[in-house]
Structure formats: C-alpha cells, structure tokens
Point group: D2
Chain length 383, copies 4
C-alpha cells in the first residue's frame, strides 16, 4: 500500500502521549509525519516541529494555520489525516474543523467534553463522509482482538458477567500541587472535563468491554470519589453495570491505588467459559471452560484466530506491547482511508479501530457516570 | 498446654468441611475428638463415628443425645467445646443449646439465618460467659494476620479503599439438578438461608475486610443475581460499599465465574501504601508504597511481624495452606478456653479467632445485602 | 483402617523437621505417637516427650532404651513403626537396629553416609522383611504424582530432557559461625556426611526425577563449590546428567542463591510435551504439548488421574501444601504396613512412598557426585 | 540529532528478522532506510525493495552493487551504515567489504562462522576505524541495563553464580523436513555454522551474561545433543561454566523443550543479593537481598538507575518489549556514529550496543562449546 501522510496537532515538547502516537505510526514504515501544529504556544510548536525534522513550510504555530495551509496544497501532497493529541478541551474544535474540511481525523480520548459536542462531530462527519478514529488504544492488542473473536463467535456461550478494572496509583498524592504536566491538566475541570479518572481511564475500560463483548449498557450505578484533599475531580470510581439482555458488570477505575501502574484488566464470564486479560502482560489470554483445564493462549500461536494473527508482528515469546497495539489502531485507520480513497469496501479484518461512535459513547458514559454518582437512585438508565 | 477435647456435630460421611475441621484440629496434636453426633440421620451418625474411632458411648445419633451425655460426665472427661459443622439451618439450635449448657462452641459460617437468631446467641453467651468462635477461616492465614498488623499499625496510612473478591465458578451450571450434596443445600433457601453466594462466600469476604482493616460499613449498594435458570438464591453478587470515616469498597462474590476455583483476593489501599493478598497463593503478601518498589513479603521471613510469626509452622518456601490456616483459628479458640479456665487474661497474640460478634455481623451483612438488592435507593444504611 | 502407633527417634525441642513429621502423621487421624526417644541428650529427650504428652513409661532417654522397651510389649500395644528424624549420622545405627528387631522404619533423608551402610540396611531389611520408607517428601505432592502418572503413561512421549533445580539462599552467609542449629550440623562433615547441599537438597532433586520419570543415571558430571569462606562442605552444586536410553539432564542444587527460599522446580521434556512443577506453588502442574496451548492442571480438578486424586484432601483452589504432601508419604507407609500385616498384596495406588532402595540410590548419588566433582574426566559412570 | 540513513542487506520478502530490524530503526524516527540489497536473489531483492518504497536507484540486486553505488554517492547522501541481516554464512564477506570501504556496520548474530573470520573483521575495523555493532538484541532491554548497572556498581556484592537459560521448543520436531524457511537454514551446517541451538540462542545467552556481569569464561564443560532424528546440528546444549575469579555458571540452551517460546532467563547471584530477569516479562527485574523482602523493580520507576531510564520510552505499566529493546541497540550505534563524525568522545551512557568484540567472543564461544562437547576432559580452557 502507499505510505500515508499525517499532521499532528498537539504533542510538542514535554508531552508524553504525542510521542507515543508518532512512534506507533512510524513503527511499520507506512505512515509519515509531514506537518504539524504541535503546541498551542506558537513558539513551542515550531521548536517542537524542528525537533521532529518538519519542513518549515509545514511546521505551524496554530492548528488553524496548519489547516489553512493543507487545504491550499494539492491532493498528492496534502495530509491524509490529522492526529489530534492535545489536552481534552481542545479536541472538539480541531476535530470539527478538520472533519468539516474533509480531512480524516484520529483523535485522542476521551473524545470531547459533552454529548452535544459529540453529536456535532457525528453530524459533521455525516456530511463529510470522512474516516474518524478515536485512540482507545487497548483494543489494538492482538489478544484483545482474540478475546473479541472468541466472544463474538460464541466460544464463551452467552455472556453473563464482565469485570473490568483500571488500577493506577500515580495520583495518590496531590501531584498537581507541584510541577507535573500530566497531572496538572488531568485534574483541572476546564481542560479535563466533568470527570477525572473516569474520563482518563474509565472510558478505556468502557471501550474495552464494548469492543470485546459488544454489550450495551442498560443502567449503571456509580460511586465517584475525590480522595486527595483539594482535588476537584474524581480520582476513584466504582460502578455496578447492567447490560441489555441481562449481563452484569463491575467497573473499577482508580488513580489512587498505590502500586497500580497501568493495571487494566478484563474478565469476561459466559455460560460456557471465561477469558482473562491483563494489559501489563498483554501477550497472554487465559481461557477457562467448563470441561477442561485453563488454557494459556499466547500471542503468535498457531491456534489463534485471524484477528489476532493479523495484529501480530513477532513470533510467540517475542513480546509485543503498548506501542505495537497503538500502531494497530493507526494501521486500521490507514486501511479505512485507503479503502475509501479506492472506493472499495473494507475486508473482513480491515479498518479495525475505535470509531467516532465509540468516542461518542465514551462521552455519554462519562456523563451518565456523573449523573449516577450524584443520584440517590440505585440505577441510572442509559437512555 | 493440656490437650483439649471436643465433640463434633455434623460432618459425617460424605461431608466435605467436617473432615477439614477435624484435620485442622488434629494437625498440632493439641485438640482431640472424643464425641460426636455426626449426622441428623442417627444411623449415618453412628457409622460415621465408628469410621473416626469414637467410643460407642460417645458416638450419638443426635446432638441432643450428645449434649445430654456430656452434661452427665465429670468435668475432667467432658468435652471442652463442640464444633458445629452442620448445614446452616441447624447451626442456631445447636449453638444455642450448647452455649446455654455452658459448653464452648465453634460454629461454621454463616452463623445463622437471621439477626434475631444471632442476637439470641449473643444473649445466651452473655449469660453463660462461654467462648464462641465462628470459622471464617481465611483470617487464620499468617499473611492475613500480617496484613492486619500492618494496617492496624498504620503502615499503609489511612485506608481509602478496599477491593475484595471471591470468585468461584463451580455453580455455573445447574449442579443442584443432579446428585451433588454440596450444591444441593447451598442453593436451597430452607437450609442455606436468604442468600446463596453472599452467604457462602460473601460473608467470608466481609469478614476478611473487617478483620484486616477494622472498617465498619456505613452503607452498601448491592446487585444480586441468580444466573442459572431455576436457581432460587443468588449465585452472583456485586457491591459498592461505604465505610465509616470515608473509605470506599467494592465486593465481588460469585459462584458462576467459570475458571474461578477458590479465588479470594483482598486489596487494601491507604494514603501511604497498599497490600494485596490472594488465598490461592497464601504465603505471599505484596506491599506497595509511595517511595519504593513493591516488596514481596513471604510467610516465614524474619521481617514479618509477631502475629504472622506466631501463626506459622514452617520456614519460608515450605508452603502452608488452607488446613494450617484453619488450625490457627482452633488454636486461638483453645487459647481462649484455657485462659478462661485458668482465670487469666489473654496475651496480646492469644485467642485470635472470629467471634460470635463477627458471625452476627456476617448475618446482618446478608440481610442488608438482600435489603439493598431489593431497594431502588442507591445506598442502604447499615444502621 | 485401624490407627497405627509410632515412636519417634530425634525431633526433640528446637528441632524443625521432627515437628513437621509429627504434624504430618497427626493430620489425618490415622497415625498416633505413643513412644519416643526424642534427643540424644536423655534429659532433653524426656522433657521433649513430656511436651508431647508421652506417657512416662514410653518416654525414653535413648533409642536403645526405646527399642528394648518396645520389644517387651505385647504386639497389640507395641509400635507399628519408628520414625527416625535425627541428624544424618545417627540414621544408620538406629535404622539398622529397629529393622533387625523386625520393626518397620521411616527414616529421614539422606538415608546414611555411605553406600556400604545402605547395603547393610538393605541386607537387614532382606532378612526382616519389614517396611522401610525414606522421607523424600516432595514426591508426596499430588501434582508430582500426577506428573509421574502422565510420564509413565506416555503422555509426554519419550523423555528427552529433565531440568531439576533446588534453589536456596539461606546458607549464603557463614550462618554456622553463629548459633544456628540447622546450619550447624548441615555443614559439619561428621554429622552431615561427605556432601552439603547435594545431600540436603540435591538428593531430593535426584529422587524427584527418578520418581516422576523413572530415568536411571548412566553418567554424571558435577561441579561442587563451597562458596562461603571457611565452609567445609559444598554449598552449591551443578550437574550435567546422562540417563540410560539417551535422555539428558541438568541439576542445580544450591544454598547460596540469595532469594531462593525452598525453590524446588522440575521440568520434564518429552517428544510430545512437557511438564513444569514448582514446589512453592505446588497445586499447579503446567502441561505443554505440540498441538495446543499450555494447560494449567490444578490439584482437585476432575480431569486429573487417580494418583493425584487419591493424594488430595481438598477441592481445587483450597491449597494443600508441604505438610499434606508429607502426610501422604506416611499414609503410604501405613498402607504397606497394614497390607503386610494382613498378608495381602498392595493395591495399585497403595503403599506409595520412597523406599529403602530410593534412599540407597540417593546415597550413591552423593558419592558419585563427589567422585565426579574431583575427577578431571567429563563423565563419571554410575556403575 | 540528525537522522541517519542506512541500507539493508538481506531481510527481503518472507524473512522474519529483517522486518524486525527495520521496525526497530523506524520506531523513533531517527534512522531512515534509503537503500538495500534485500536478497541474494536479485529479482526478489528488487521486489522486496519496492515493497519498502526504496527508490529504484538505490534498490539493488546484490550487496556488491549496493556497495559500489554508495561509494559513488556524495557524503551527504551516502548511507551512514549498513544493516546485515542475511543468513549467517553471508555475514562475513558483506561485513568485511563494507568495513573496508569505511562504512559503519551493524551485523546480525552469530557474527561469523569462525574465529579466523572474526579476527579478519577486527583487523579490518582496526584499519578503517568504523563503528561495528552486533545485534545481540536482548541487552537492549532497559531492565537488562538496570541489572548491569546494579551488578557493575556492586549492589549484589561479588558475583558467585550465574544461571542463564534459553528455552525454546519450536525445533522439537523435524521442521526442516517440511517447508519452514527459518528452520531450514538454521539446521544446515553450511549456512548456520558449526552449531545449531548454541549459535542461534546460546550466543545470546553468553552475551547476556557477559554484558550484565562482565564475567570472563575461564573454562567450560558442554554437553551438546541433536535430539531430533536426522538433525545435523545440536538442538540442545547444557553447559557448566567457570569464570575468572571463581564464579560458577550454568547455561541451558535448547530448541526441543516443548512449551518454550522465547524463554530467555537470567539469574545472577552475588554475596549480597541476586537479580532475576525473564525476557518474556521484560519490564520486571526481581531483586533479592540478604536483609529484606524481594523487590519488584519495574521499568519506568523513579528508583531505577540512569541506564534503564535512558533506555525507556513509556511510563511504568505501559509495557515496552522486543522491538523497543532492539531499537535501543540501533540508537546506541547511531550515537556512536554521530560522535565519531563529530570527533567527540561518547558520553557515559552513549553508544551502548554489543560490539564487534562481543560478536567475536560469541564465535569463540561456539567453537569452545563444540570443542568441549567432543572432549572427554571435564574442563575445556578458554585460552
């Protein structure tokens, strides 16, 4: 396939996640950075672009300048898509502008602050017909895709229960009181939105369940807490969930659990078996069934399904990890863009990435969680 | 110390847990079985007693006959205590009768069916002044005692959050439809009480948190489900918990999670650190703190506290397990009985076992969980 | 079955392993301590016996007095067997005397100091026809027996390679310079024999391989080292092994590997699959095969073989450990004694314990290891 | 720093490891593929280059054509280095030609077939003064570098013992009889050299020990076996090692251990502590010491040393893996090239990669292992 070109908005010097996006895109040699507006601070933006070897003409001080410039360029030179890795509060206007301009978008999560904004993006994309991906990156792991394939093809029977946890401890102290860039904006409602931990990591957990199980939330019951004195957003959230069709769920998302690094775990229980996956040991999927011992499914093994095989680069025992999973999302976006460009339908395993719909559902999940947390009723209905 | 003598009520042929109690008591050579009424079926009771080598004169067809006989015997020959390991619905009358007769009691869990019964037992014990233990056996593990010591001495700071899970899968199918003695009574409200999984394993989870953390429930929010078609009691329960003083909790207790064997796990998070313990790997306690790497505390190590040391029999790496933990409870009961007999106060580490108060609280926990599960209000207050 | 009576030689106050033997025998209520000569120091012996509630008439100051006394007692009162848990250098004379007197023997390991002594015991037992067990206790674990059944029934194909490790670190410093009873005699050639680590733990490793795989050593190549300054016996040994029929082996037995607690591990590789077992996580056996994912075999599961099932007391997830494994050896001895008494053949799964032949082979293994370690030839032949 | 340009020799369609090298170099956006001779088959070479987007002028049918072409180009356009990823038997002539032409080289392992060839490369590099890296990639893992820093700064005390294992099972059957490209050349002496498993994976194990511990082999004792019928090279090797200064070692390198994926493990034991690392869980290093519990050192933690920090891209809990480690080697080579170009000395943490000397020692290790394996003497001296 031809190499795709992208621009990045956000992700300048000192940003953590922007560099991860860039490495993920660079990994397979299929996607090339050609332009950027890497910071809201014009000077920092340009310095950051120089660090990355951007040509001066495509190294902009603002995302508006970037967009203007790209639209003036001929198709064969123009970016194929923009990758938006700014703090949350900037996502909406950038994503909307690029979508309306007919440029494909990949946007970091959580998508936007409100469902109203999400609806506006959906409407804009409806008009433009562009591709729009949201980087709920954990679904890019091969063994998550294996889990999805096994659940969707009925290998666990009917799903009864899901337990999803996202245990972190890095915000157990008042880090934002010091000089910690990551902590600073995440706990600021103006930039992070109406939720803290639930937005930063809970939405990943929600997306993981939805992706693997295809379950739809019917009602939820949330208990959000801000444990650290002075903190304005939740740093801990625990939820009971009811899914349409009768399945039950538990979600734990916390950033005050000392010892938690990036401890995302998923357990899915059906009438015939269960699956257990752990992000910190991502090459393994444990499969239990009614009629035999637990089986250790490892990435790269011949007995995995097509989805996991497609998402793998290395043989068993040669671990793949976070960046490879991230790269898989971008490859899915690239496939979708090329299919659209070529006017053909996506193949069965192509174009696999969390969509704008996933992102919008994540925003609604944040809102419903806050609504439930403030409610005295046990169950807050999804609709 | 002198050997103690006990009688067993229940635990005849085919019973699982009665044999475990007997092995636990036999282990250290300090407690001797001398009498029994091992089944509600007189014939089976006597046959079971013969299997165990009971003298005919002390091998009874009913617990009433056992009690009558013991009361006629001189002190030096009479049992020191009775161990009640019948199905749940029999606990109350037996425990009450022996307590009222001034005989010390160890009773299996959950203690009784109702708080009214529990109060009656408390009242009876108040009159008799006897020792009364309840076999929430998991608190007998040395590393659980280490956890308790660390929490109680402030090594985790102030406790913010507790996650306790008891994951089992053995009731994922309708086992009770067949010929499965354990399943049969556990899912029968007449014998098991108002709850299924919550009584059988949830009460252990509740007791573990209370024992380790000393936290008191302020309010709870429960979602109980009977997943298996035709089942009359919950086989899955998930709870959000609020503890006095502001700590939060999550409890998962399930018997339909395929792959779950006896997967009891406890995580305790404080302002300074956390502890993680897993019953299936019981010799290990993982300690995380703010200022250094996680530490693997192993049973038998020199750097453990006195409580764990006292509860250990073997050096590090020589695993101790379920029966040893169970035995520790009985040794605690024995210490309390001897102290009472000798009219002396218990030493700091003596008499360590779950008490009648723990059992009564467990009964209330079952009731409150059912109350919450039926309520449309989010929080059901404890008092 | 009737309860068996035993006497203990050694295992008095302060001894570690004697108490373990007693707990193991007490566990199932089938074997009763009735007599003892618990120390070479007569006064300490009697005090130790009093601690254990021995009747004065059967609480002796020397093993000779014990033996004399037992021989005078009528059969129905006499001990069924003696358990010898003294330091190594005492084993021979005690075991020989009891065997010659027609009393069954269980003796701790390593059996004796020399093959000459082992041959003398074999000869004595040939004359007396008594039962003689040696407590290579690790073969009592249910999952070791499962491994043996799987290997012996060809589930791994033909065995190609065995890796056995026994990693300990407790002798990494010169513990014997201080007041450490366990260390003291283990590093003293007069009491421990010609080897240190190889005798104390290497013989367990040898026995484990022999028991599980039935392989016979053809030749070995050993490198023994005494790392700790001033130590007179090896504290570290590494061996290459060649087995009859072409299998290869590696053995590591060390007491200076800091961090090693009681880290005995076995890996067996055949043409069709492999097994991995770890003593510190003894309820698990990992089975790999050519044609599917690894399977986690857990003690208590329905898909295990008869040998593992027979050796289990508790359901899956309720861990069994060191003492239960030890108890299984004694139950095997008891079965053999009763079968002999009743003049009947042992059933297929009865009488399972390491025999005098195993013990004698262990002694030869020590000798051959020392011979190889001193040799400049690569391979030292077994015969 | 400026981007570096490289050409690749080997690694065309169907090759596994060439793609890994390319991804590793692409990851950080610092190293760019500009030319290639990707196969010994000219047609396949060009097709492979087209797949990768190479310009026709730099997409060659042979490495000689590539070299000729590069030497004609001006400095500012010429490749900075060549990456040689052909089967082993081609390494020598390519590496020698590029080195003699003054072009920096990165060569896959094992370096060459004979020490004579290795000496010729060392001589050539002595004349040219070029940078020469060998991709013993496992030393690129951050936690391996942490281990090295801890050993080298004395945190384990004096090293007593090393156990290194490389357990694989993929060659447990006669894969080479079928159509398996990887298996085919690895078991062919003409292409793989005098050893099989010892060259393919044993040299990695040797390099890992040398890198982490700085130990020099004094003598070794090897037992090599070809287990699979018809196989012409060893598929299993076990070694005892003696290091200068008194340390002992054990090495296990096997490709017939069913269940082994890419199970490289290192354990290092000193007088004060030990370290354990496992390639399949590479973000963790377990540190045991004499005076406290084991500590879990995780990549990304603040308490790690500078070497590990420099080699990390992501925070704790966001796993890094095989490709990132591989990339670290190339970044080290790039630093060394730039330092040389700029005429400055390397900083303390710069230019960290296995050198030609490492590669040459690996070749000698293969020769000495074969020599020992054929010898009847226990110890084969290194010099």
């Amino acid at each position: 396939m031809r190499k795709l070109r992208y621009a990045m908005v956000g992700g300048g010097r000192g940003a953590f996640i922007g560099a991860v996006h860039r490495k993920a895109m660079a990994l397979d040699g299929q996607i090339e950075l050609v332009a950027g507006a890497l910071s809201a601070d014009a000077e920092k933006a340009r310095a950051s672009g120089q660090d990355l070897g951007l040509a001066d003409a495509r190294n902009h001080g603002s995302w508006q300048a970037l967009l203007d410039d790209e639209l003036k360029r001929p198709r064969g030179e123009r970016i194929d898509f923009v990758s938006i890795v700014t703090p949350n509060h900037v996502h909406f206007e950038v994503a909307k502008a690029f979508t309306e301009a007919g440029i494909h978008v990949v946007c970091d999560k959580p998508l936007v602050h409100t469902s109203e904004q999400a609806q506006a993006l959906l409407a804009a994309r409806g008009r433009s017909g562009t591709v729009f991906g949201v980087t709920h990156n954990y679904t890019g792991y091969p063994m998550v895709r294996q889990a999805r394939e096994m659940v969707r093809t009925g290998q666990l029977g009917e799903i009864r229960k899901v337990i999803v946890e996202y245990n972190q401890g890095w915000l157990a102290t008042q880090l934002e009181a010091g000089d910690h860039k990551q902590a600073d904006w995440r706990v600021d409602p103006a930039r992070s939105g109406i939720v803290g931990a639930i937005g930063d990591i809970g939405t990943h957990a929600e997306n993981l369940v939805a992706s693997v199980c295809g379950l739809e939330i019917e009602a939820l019951c949330a208990d959000l807490t801000a444990f650290v004195p002075g903190r304005r957003l939740d740093d801990d959230g625990n939820l009971l969930l009811r899914y349409r069709g009768g399945a039950r769920g538990v979600m734990i998302a916390s950033q005050i659990e000392i010892g938690g690094e990036n401890d995302l775990r998923l357990r899915v229980f059906g009438t015939q078996g269960s699956l257990t996956w752990h992000q910190e040991d991502p090459n393994l999927l444990v499969h239990a069934s009614l009629d035999g011992p637990k089986r250790l499914l490892t990435r790269g093994s011949p007995w995995l399904g097509d989805a996991a095989k497609k998402a793998s680069r290395l043989p068993t025992g040669h671990p793949e990890a976070f960046i490879e999973a991230f790269a898989n999302l971008y490859l899915g976006v690239a496939e979708a863009i090329l299919a659209k460009e070529e006017g053909r339908a996506l193949g069965a395993l192509e174009g696999d990435f969390p969509t704008l719909e996933d992102g919008a559902r994540g925003v609604k999940f944040m809102e419903k969680t806050v609504e439930s947390s403030r409610s005295t009723a046990k169950w807050t209905a999804w609709d």
